[in-house]
């Protein structure tokens, strides 16, 4: 394999002191965010975007990636000790993890989770190093029609697999696509939806939208809810799992790694889905399923392995196709664009330092997390005592001042607040902001690919079906659209009284 040399050079990039430092900063912030309920990784990365302007692209992405997978570790701690999942991807860990903690086996649960996370993450990075260049090489031949269908597929999958109502997620995605058209049309130069405002003529910027929807929106939403004051945490002893625990959970860790890796690649999959799927898988496979929910060590090992594996592999679609697989990846996509590095198949060959630097930094990050997560458990639990009432104004001010620093524009602060209010209302009315941000990021790619394809096909939409790759993708797209509709009709026929259409059963 001739790609070995740039991969090894990537390690050189990671071992530069600055990059090591930012990797450490990233994973520590990630763990903190994971521990604190409320702000998720997407929101944190969005809020910290302005800080990445001054630093090198590799360094910036290494830090942001560290936040993402670091959060998967941190979320475990509160799930196990306090029954408070810090992240959505750690929700299933609560079932067995907290029971273990009450049985006095908190240390074992945390230890096995850390080991599982490390194994899952590492397996996923190795697989990523093999798969990503292949996918990127394959994708180099993609033309506008392929990108049109691929972007559509990505948006649809994220909208249909995510939380909340499918239709509402699609509405949010549509709004994102529409927001992406604001400003001067690149083909004709016509001004679209600018309402004669000079500030809108260049289009909406990604940063205030992401910071507003994820950052301010979540803070406002949290204002209404009172988080429980954290009291006396469980004492943690004996964090190294016993040999029988390890033997019992080794199968779960192995299966969780594979399942997490596969689900992470799929758009819309990601860490949350992977953790739930692997928990369900272990419970179904187990000869003693009644142990699950009563402190089964596999019930902690499987989801924690899978969510880390998935967090890592969800970088593949972003780094190889330029299609973010979930909301957090959409924010990292935005960060890459800001740095002047358009993500896509040419990234591996044109920016090998960035590509391999970021991937290899994940090894280091996972080792750092494994080292830190056990001895620092007490510290992270103590951080939970900081009341959200004190953190909220600080986060708001970081957002407001931070967004100003990007372009020195008061208008951007206005945008952040407007999109913050929108994000709050969306959450209130059952719309997820994730699909909106994702669709906004992909909007201009989708529109320009579509228009180029239509020019290419002379207006004949059947052209998409006649090219082999775009045809296959189109078929997939149809399956994604028609499957839920068919299932809906089916369930309406079989159980007309008992239905809840709008929740995804994924």
């Amino acid at each position: 394999m001739d790609s070995l040399a740039p991969m090894i050079n990537g390690f050189g990039v990671v071992l530069e002191p600055t990059n090591l430092l930012y990797c450490l900063i990233g994973v520590v912030i990630g763990m903190l965010v994971g521990v604190l309920p409320g702000l998720g990784p997407a929101a944190t990365i969005a809020i910290l975007l302005p800080l990445t302007f001054g630093i090198e692209p590799v360094t910036a992405i290494i830090m942001l990636a560290g936040i993402f997978y670091g959060a998967q570790y941190g979320g475990t701690i509160t799930s196990v000790l306090l029954r408070l999942p810090g992240e959505a991807s750690s929700v299933v860990t609560v079932f067995d993890g907290h029971v273990m903690a009450r049985q006095g086996r908190a240390g074992t649960a945390l230890g096995i989770a850390a080991i599982g996370s490390f194994v899952g993450g590492t397996v996923s990075i190795v697989a990523l190093s093999v798969v990503a260049p292949l996918v990127a090489g394959f994708a180099l031949s993609f033309g506008p029609p392929e990108y049109t269908v691929l972007a559509l597929l990505g948006i649809l999958l994220v909208a249909t697999v995510g939380n909340g109502g499918r239709v509402k997620a699609l509405v949010a995605a549509g709004l994102g696509l529409l927001l992406a058209t604001v400003g001067r049309d690149t083909f004709t130069g016509a001004e679209r939806f600018t309402f004669d405002s000079l500030a809108l003529a260049d289009g909406l910027d990604f940063v205030p939208i992401a910071m507003g929807l994820f950052g301010i929106g979540e803070i406002l939403h949290n204002l209404e809810q009172r988080h429980r004051a954290v009291s006396g945490a469980v004492k943690v002893t004996n964090t190294w799992p016993s040999r029988s625990d390890l033997r019992q959970s080794s199968g779960a860790i192995a299966r969780g790694s594979v399942l997490g890796f596969v689900l992470g690649i799929l758009p819309g999959g990601g860490a949350t889905l992977a953790s739930m799927a692997s928990y369900a898988l272990e419970k179904r496979r187990s000869r003693t399923p009644e142990r699950f929910g009563r402190g089964a060590v596999e019930g902690v090992a499987a989801p924690e392995t899978a969510n880390n594996a998935a967090a890592t592999s969800s970088f593949i679609p972003l780094l190889t196709l330029g299609i973010p697989a979930n909301a957090t990846m959409a924010v990292i996509f935005g960060a890459l664009l800001i740095q002047g590095v358009p993500p896509g198949p040419q990234l591996v060959s044109q920016e090998p330092e960035l590509f391999w630097g970021v991937i290899n930094s994940m090894y280091i990050g996972n080792i750092l997390l494994l080292i830190m997560s056990i001895p620092l458990v007490g510290l992270f639990v103590r951080i939970l005592r900081i009341r959200p009432a004190i953190l909220a104004p600080i986060t708001v001010l970081i957002t407001l001042v931070g967004v100003y620093t990007v372009r020195n524009s008061v208008f951007d602060i206005v945008l952040v607040v407007v999109f913050g209010a929108l994000g709050y209302l969306m959450k209130k009315f059952g719309f997820e902001p994730g699909p909106l941000v994702l669709a906004f990021v992909l909007g201009s790619l989708l529109e320009s690919s579509l228009r180029r394809s239509l020019l290419l096909f002379d207006g004949d939409a059947l052209g998409f079906a006649t090219r082999p790759i775009s045809g296959t993708l189109l078929l997939l797209l149809l399956v994604v659209v028609l499957l839920p509709v068919a299932r809906m009709l089916w369930s309406r026929r079989t159980a007309p009284a008992d239905r809840e259409k709008t929740r995804t059963g994924a």
Binding site: P85, G174, A190, Q225, H227, A389, I390, V401, Y404, V410
Partner: protein
């Protein structure tokens, strides 16, 4: 503000329950109106009521359907799509062979309009909206402080607006004590000044 049940969720955590079926009973009558700031008394200080949030989100009670809220949401979406269609049409709809500036927005807006109609059709069954609670006044107050921040930063710099914002959030939205709020808001601004003006020398408007 409707008499809907107090809603407590950990965001994004609802899926774990496997989607409990919503009761098909009559939805609590709940208007789509926004949080009335005058009607709500200030809630008790946050954090002083540990029972309120004792259950993590994955065991949340299913929300009752709120047909009126859902219908209003669906109508807003449909109207938005329709207005968008008109706006896109005026940009020039083009043809498939020769797409114009308005072609793509027109397609997107048409899809939004159709989706709005679908939402309208399912308004009686969906149960994914949250009721505005007695604490919703905080949201308006929070947005108000940010609006004040924007209005003031251009003329008097970021220090005073930041301190005011932090104080309001700590004392009134967060329910911290007067003394802690005053001290913390000054400390926060000092830290921001040190980082943004001192360390990063960001050209943010500042007084001193």
């Amino acid at each position: 503000m409707g008499p809907g049940p107090a809603k407590r969720t950990a965001p994004e955590a609802g899926e774990a329950s496997g989607g409990a079926p919503a009761p098909d009973g009559p939805g609590a009558p709940d208007g789509p109106e926004g949080p009335g700031p005058a009607a709500a008394p200030p809630g008790p200080p946050a954090g002083a009521d540990p029972v309120q949030d004792a259950e993590p989100g994955f065991e949340e009670a299913p929300e009752p359907p709120r047909p009126r809220t859902n219908t209003a949401v669906a109508l807003v979406v449909t109207a938005f799509g329709a207005v968008g269609c008109l706006g896109s049409w005026s940009l020039g709809p083009g043809t498939p062979a020769e797409p114009a500036a308005g072609t793509w927005p027109l397609v997107v807006c048409a899809v939004i309009t159709v989706l709005g109609c679908v939402l309208l059709g399912t308004a009686r069954r969906t149960a994914d909206t949250e009721a505005f609670s007695a604490a919703s006044w905080k949201i308006l107050a929070g947005i108000g402080t940010m609006a004040g921040f924007i209005a003031l930063i251009g003329t008097i710099g970021f220090e005073i607006p930041s301190a005011l914002l932090a104080f309001v959030w700590l004392r009134f939205l967060g329910g911290e004590s007067w003394r802690l709020s005053a001290v913390a808001s000054v400390l926060i601004v000092a830290a921001f000044y040190a980082v943004f003006v001192g360390l990063l020398s960001v050209p943010i408007p500042h007084l001193f």
